[in-house]
Amino acid sequence: MAQVMMKELNKKYDEVHAVKDVNLHVRDKEFVVLVGPSGCGKSTTLRMVAGLEEITSGEISIGERVVNDLPPKDRDIAMVFQNYALYPHMTVYDNMAFGLKMRKFPKPEIQKRVQDAAVLLGIQELLKRKPRQLSGGQRQRVAVGRAIVRHPQVFLFDEPLSNLDAKLRVQMRVELKRLHDRLETTVIYVTHDQVEAMTLGDRVVVMKDGWIQQVGEPLELYGKPANKFVAGFIGSPAMNFVDVALVDAGGALWAETEGLRVKVPPAHTSRLGAYKGQKVTLGVRPEDLHVASGNDPNEYTFPAVVDVVEPLGSEILLDLRAGAHTIVARVEPAVRAKVHETLKLALTPDRARFFDLKTELAI
């Protein structure tokens, strides 16, 4: 059990600056997820913590120890790889026991730990099999088992669910979460899947181009994204972005663009005052749009033409056009919308977000 500190962490390959000034404090027993598109530096960061990648500059400490120059075996970590990396010539038992044998644990202790882990993961029946005789989900369990028998200070997961089919992924996601609750160990988990990140992480670290974009609890990232990238990356379908001009009309601030004109919600007016006469990006999540009823104030509604209707059962996704802009709205399953029909859409005023056009930072 230990915290992990990363200070001014950098990784440069010959040409590429893969990780840039990463500062991150993973607390003891915390489940932290690094998420971002491929090439964002999340895996490199994890591999530096594991000791599989040299650190160009900066410092990593696990517990109280600076581990920069320690080989992986001396860092007291365990890692689960995307492709499982099971030892193909060993049985499941030997795969799980290998790390303990390397650390010269007495045989009875090894047996007990492997048994316990096998029971925990439901793979007692598989201990005598070879990896090639296992299904993808079973291999994944063995890989996790190999990590937990060691009782390491920190678990590192590198996209462990990416190779599983959708149904199994959801199931394993739940199991990993349950496992973390039981083992109470620090976890650093890398994924490109924002749903995985949101569901698993105590805190989520969004990365892009080697920079940390935002660190926060899942709902914090969802509700208060620090910039346009985080806003677009977290949430599915993604947030709608429309570039609008801020104009003063009748003493109030309005956001205007071709085919769309809404009042700036009162919560934002003071911060947006400085942008009067300039363009900003308006961000609205699909779930913050609905078909307008009589109760909706007119200044937060706009007309839109239905392009595509995607009925998902629990909800309906509408692809609409408002002027030149394409917008996705997530509406009640009871809504009966036809293609080419013009609807009056309303947005939930206090949920709208504004971003600086140049810096893309939240305003």
Binding site: M79, Y84, A85, L86, P88, M102, K130, Q133, R139
Partner: protein
């Protein structure tokens, strides 16, 4: 139905062509050993006779050539020498090649790629170019006319190619496998011996077969470095003892060749299964 039938007949035609080509190959490659075996069982009279069909034994088979080989020549000494040379050559070459290939393919130090290519280029230097300088070196070491000179010389031929071959195979083993072992607490040597090499067995076998073949069938170096009967290996020994001036003892030569072929053939047959069953299956999803 018509297009399907057309497709099927096209498939049949393609198959027939394939079998025809394979058939040609089989004849082409099996004829020399057939001829060797045939000649080794013929009597001298029949070998020298210009009458009749030469492709079958017509006047009765004989084991005389084999008998003579064991009783009238030093064939057993040559055979023993070949074994005594080849076993250490294979061991030494494999140890060097495995360590070199592992370092070049996995440790990722600066210049690894260039060195890897350089190693391969060394292999392209023909051995007929090297035996004169090597002769001087062997002489300086006082190993002329000793079979042990071959143990020293053959690895220089084998290691470059075997290393290059292993680099290629090692590259096909997922890197996560060694990384998992390193995280699990193994050092590089433990990881190499307990995880990496067992997975690399098919590649190791390919390299071993290559090393064995080079050492077992080498002719030029033993011819240049060993002279006396007690130091000669199979390739040179049978030839020097069965070609007397311009008299070729074809029956004996072919009997010797057949017996000399047996170990490599057995090795191939025995190892082919291991070679084909790729052990990496199941270690990773891909």
């Amino acid at each position: 139905m018509a297009p399907r039938r057309a497709r099927r007949s096209r498939r049949t035609a393609a198959l027939l062509l394939c079998y025809a080509i394979i058939g040609l190959f089989v004849v082409f490659f099996l004829f020399p050993p057939y001829w060797m075996a045939l000649t080794s069982f013929k009597t001298n009279q029949e070998i020298e006779s210009l009458e009749g069909i030469p492709f079958v034994i017509q006047k009765g088979a004989t084991l005389k050539h084999y008998q003579d080989l064991f009783t009238k020549t030093d064939f057993l000494i040559y055979f023993k020498n070949s074994v005594l040379v080849t076993v250490p050559v294979v061991l030494i070459s494999m140890v060097i090649s495995v360590l070199a290939a592992y370092a070049l393919s996995r440790l990722g130090f600066a210049g690894a790629g260039v060195i890897g290519t350089a190693v391969f280029l060394v292999y392209l230097v023909p051995d007929s170019l090297l035996f004169i300088p090597l002769f001087k070196i062997i002489g300086a070491l006082g190993l002329l006319n000793s079979k042990w000179s071959l143990v020293l010389v053959y690895p220089s031929l084998i290691v470059p190619f075997a290393t290059w071959l292993l680099i290629g195979y090692f590259a096909s083993i997922p890197k996560e496998l060694d990384e998992a072992a390193l995280v699990d607490g193994a050092n590089h040597l433990q990881m190499l011996v307990q995880i990496f090499l067992p997975v690399a067995v098919p590649g190791l076998i390919a390299a071993t077969i290559f090393a064995f073949t080079v050492s077992w069938s080498g002719f030029l170096y033993p011819l240049a470095f060993t002279f006396s009967s007690d130091q000669q290996v199979l390739t040179t020994g049978t030839v020097t003892s069965l070609i007397k001036g311009d008299v070729y003892h074809w029956g004996g030569l072919m009997a010797g060749a057949i017996l000399a072929c047996l170990p490599p053939v057995l090795l191939y047959v025995f190892l082919m299964d291991y070679y084909i069953s790729g052990l990496t299956a199941g270690s990773t999803k891909a």
